[in-house]
Amino acid sequence: MKNSTLKFVRCADKDCETDGNQHDGTAMSKDKDHTTKIENLDPGTMTGLLKIGIIEKQRPVDRLLDRLIAVDGGEWFSNVIQEPPFNAVFADAAVLCQGPVERVEINSLKSKGKRLSGADRGQEDRLRGTLAYMLSVAAGLVHLEEMVSSQPAEVLEPVLQDLSGALSDEWSTLFASAAAATGAYRLE
């Protein structure tokens, strides 16, 4: 297979009759079968895609999001929530999603998460710690209607949204609901 003949994007417009000419208003041109070749991407779009690859600053939650969206991220998540620090607080971590939870449990998970995500810990511990912290924040917002984090709601909301985007099913719903619940804690 030669990359120069790669086709990877079919036109979004079902009624499009384009026959290979530049598609109006988009960054690509198309073949008769409505697919786009990589060499047909304009330089600006190509540069934009490359720039997505630049990190510059990586927060702990960014590393967690990268881990969750990896090919085995779903499996990793399912395993981790059955292990420390989660199983030290909850017999079944599913309660974080479904409720009910006690304030003392949420605070305990948050504290353990903070300790585990310290700079002196290994990468895997930091990932688990960050996840525990964020799950305690989300469960607190949704089930207790309490903000257990000292982070501003404006900072937390997009993070909770991104966690929702990186998870499936009820866990995605939990984080989306938590993101929505931060609205009550905004200063403006």
Binding site: G25, M28, L41, G48, L49, L50, S164, G165
Partner: protein, 225 residues
């Protein structure tokens, strides 16, 4: 929205280094797969480099690059040496190509051929802009294929479609969201998630042993041309 990916004939993993290292440990078959990957990604950029440099007077660019691959990648330790070089593969191959072409020039001189230029006068110490851009195009193509496969494997095919609609088709999240039955904000989140995976895959394709995050950022900036 329909999004189509060309079915790949091989299964290329997300971590180029891990994959290349494991292939090199697997004898002739693994070595052949590793060479095939390198040639697929870098053949066109190297040809573009030859065409844009004074080396083009040596002959047909495709033949010269094929000769380079046959000579250097034919050596069992060539890719192993790259893994311990501390350099991006892009630079390693370009430097290797230039050495190879200079060898060809010296061989022609020994054979009595006249040359249009003296290789000692070739002062192109840095990869050309067109080579960088072509390498970037190939790596983006690879990363897009891999990202779509990864996201669909995770059940996030719609995230990929939203990403494509926004970044390639330049559509607004409100319109994309309407198509996918989600609000504008959710569409933006889905796109960010896909972008995050794309970033990780691209960086894994670009990285080399010992590369820091800052060096990777710098390498990707160089690929922008």
């Amino acid at each position: 929205m329909a999004v189509m990916t060309t079915k790949r004939t091989d299964v290329f993993p997300h971590t180029q280094l891990t994959w290349l290292s494991s292939q090199l440990d697997e004898g002739d078959l693994g070595l052949a797969k590793a060479r095939e990957h390198v040639m697929e990604v870098y053949r066109e950029p190297l040809m573009i480099y030859v065409k844009g440099s004074s080396f083009r007077t040596l002959g047909d660019a495709e033949e010269l690059v094929s000769g380079f691959f046959a000579d250097r990648l034919g050596r069992t330790d060539y890719l192993s040496e790259w893994l311990s070089s501390g350099r991006p593969l892009r630079r390693w191959l370009l430097v290797g190509l230039k050495y190879y072409l200079k060898e060809q020039i010296r061989a022609k001189k020994r054979g009595g051929s006249s040359l249009a230029f003296d290789p000692d006068d070739d002062d192109q110490d840095h990869p050309s802009r067109s080579y960088n851009e072509a390498s970037g195009r190939q790596l983006v193509a690879r990363a897009m294929i891999q990202t779509e496969e990864d996201l669909r494997a995770r059940g996030f095919g719609e995230h990929w479609e939203v990403f494509v609609a926004h970044h390639l088709q330049e559509r607004l999240f409100a319109s994309i969201g309407e198509e996918h039955g989600v609000d504008e904000k959710r569409a933006a989140v889905m796109s960010r998630t896909a972008a995050r995976r794309f970033r990780a895959v691209l960086r894994e394709l670009v990285t080399w042993p010992g590369a820091s995050d800052e060096e990777l950022d710098s390498e990707i900036r160089a690929l922008c041309g």
